[in-house]
Symmetry: C2
Subunit: 329 residues, 2 copies
């Protein structure tokens, strides 16, 4: 079974671990968000790709969900001693090595997809990890800070500001000129199942869908498309998805997010293009929203959606695959 | 008093510490060798400049004479886990930060001289540290290894091979197209004293002299030029200078090195250009070589030349300054 997953960082990575447990023989291709990539200290940092790679490769800091286990911060301390920041981004020594290798390979002319494959040669994540694009896309967030309108890099909004101010707009800068990375459209076309894990629908999955050609390929794919709500009880399970959902005019409910993705074979509600979902899982606490979702033309089930441990996460993945089979039939 | 010093790495840096103690009020400009600079992991590493900066700034690993005190090697271990080398070059985590800052600034368009000044803003070495050039020069060494003629970067010859094979030739690649960094020729012209510390006469001081204009400026400077022999008892005090002296046809004696630099107002013995030395210090064990040096037209004294501690090194610096005054008078 060929499964394609559109993944952001922590939520996507943890879901993938459950999916691998639920479908150990599946051929899984992950299309990773690169909109939160950032150049720091002259190095190319790809937080979402690395979170997937480290999580599936056994190198992740389990408690925080990002960065390396058993990490130290000598390089960062020295950079601060030189007065070189930003200090708000936590790059550890082991993590630095990844960015050094990536930057060196990019400088030598390799595309990000080839670099990601080389890094995965070490980590053996057990999935094929593709960046959504080899082109540069940076998600910027328009905010008002100290009475001034300005646009900040998504990482600055998320990490430095901790989404403490309202996002007026979220813009994947460079997306219009980007093309899907090699293998992305082929994987979508050949998939047996396409899954949207409980990643951020705006700055993770939404950015992937902003790469011209990817949304259309999913809308037209032969495989069923099933998503899992990142909102439980009208709030994000983790992160601050409500802030960026508000920026795109979507309510923080499991049903509103389903409507934002839209039902397949119908235009998406907000005019973003073709609808994408055949099926949608909401948490049991949101069972009351199932009829709303189904009324929009999306098959919906209420199941436990808290990724508390590997078993719970694998059960979620099994429910998603089961819903996909139900849709297919 | 304005003193100009042509410095390599460890020997030059330690001598400078003694010079600062001997002449605390002097205005010292160091022209640093950059021929042993190397790109590692996509980062620009300047071993000699950093050794001077760390030594005078209090950050050096005193035992080994290079690299940072209290160093760890997490980044390097991770790079090795990615299969990315070379492993023979010992870059520590704290050291990496220096190279990251330097590379980022060079990438932003700053010349190496401006970058070096920015790094020194932190270290406050108490001297003005100038790279010999802002252009790229790499010292390569021609060797025969496993029956094959090949050229290796100086660092590979020195660090990986530990000069265990004969050097057939030493070539400062790029020197012909290089220009002295801003301030270098002016410092030489305005100097009251010019010193050659007991650095390697071929791959340290020799490379600096290979930058077009520097040798000529020193030969024509109004200030006395005094050097200190890096050879004591016909052997290098540290390092493997004998190997690279052989490559340029110079015997490993204190007097032969003086002859290699040549006497001012005379052509240098080996046709390398104008002679440079007014005075030369040899170690007391080499007192028998004083007449040879003086016969070549270079004022010579035999004094203790082992940099065993700061006092001994300061005494050497005082002897060099005294010889300069003697020459001037």
């Amino acid at each position: 079974m060929r499964i394609v997953v559109l993944a952001g960082g922590i939520g996507g990575a943890r879901f993938l671990r459950g999916l691998k447990a639920a479908a150990p023989d599946a051929d899984i291709t992950v299309i990773g968000n690169t909109g939160d990539d950032i150049h720091l200290f002259g190095l190319k940092v790809c937080p979402d790709l690395d979170t997937v790679m480290y999580t599936l490769g056994g190198g992740i800091n389990e408690d925080q969900g990002w960065g390396r286990a058993d990490e130290t911060f000598r390089v960062k301390e020295e950079l601060a001693a030189y007065g070189v920041g930003p200090e708000w981004f936590g790059l550890g020594d082991r993590d630095f090595a990844t960015h050094i290798v990536r930057t060196q390979m990019l400088g030598a002319g390799y595309p990000l997809s080839a670099v990601t494959q080389a890094l995965c040669d070490r980590w053996q994540p057990g999935v094929r990890l593709l960046p959504m694009t080899d082109d540069r896309i940076e998600t910027h967030v328009a905010i008002e800070e100290d009475g001034e309108q300005r646009a900040v890099h998504f990482q600055e909004y998320w990490v430095r500001l901790r989404a403490s101010v309202d996002a007026k707009a979220v813009v994947p800068v460079g997306a219009e000129q980007a093309a899907p990375a090699p293998g992305v459209l082929e994987a979508v076309a050949q998939a047996d199942v396409i899954l949207f894990p409980p990643s951020n629908p705006v700055v993770s999955v939404g950015t992937i869908l902003a790469v011209p050609g990817i949304r259309e390929a999913i809308a037209e794919a032969g495989a069923p498309v099933v998503g899992l709500s990142p909102l439980v009880g009208d709030a994000p399970v983790r992160g601050m998805a409500d802030k960026v959902l508000a920026a795109v005019g979507v309510a923080s409910t499991a049903s509103a997010v389903a409507g934002h993705y839209g039902a397949r074979r119908r235009p998406a509600r907000d005019g973003a293009g073709a609808g994408l979902l055949d099926g949608w899982l909401v948490d049991t606490v949101d069972a009351g929203r199932v009829p709303e979702v189904e009324a929009a033309g999306i098959r919906c089930r209420a199941v436990p959606l808290m990724m508390t441990d590997l078993d719970a996460t694998a059960a979620m993945a099994r429910e998603a695959l089961a819903l996909a089979e139900e849709v297919r039939a």
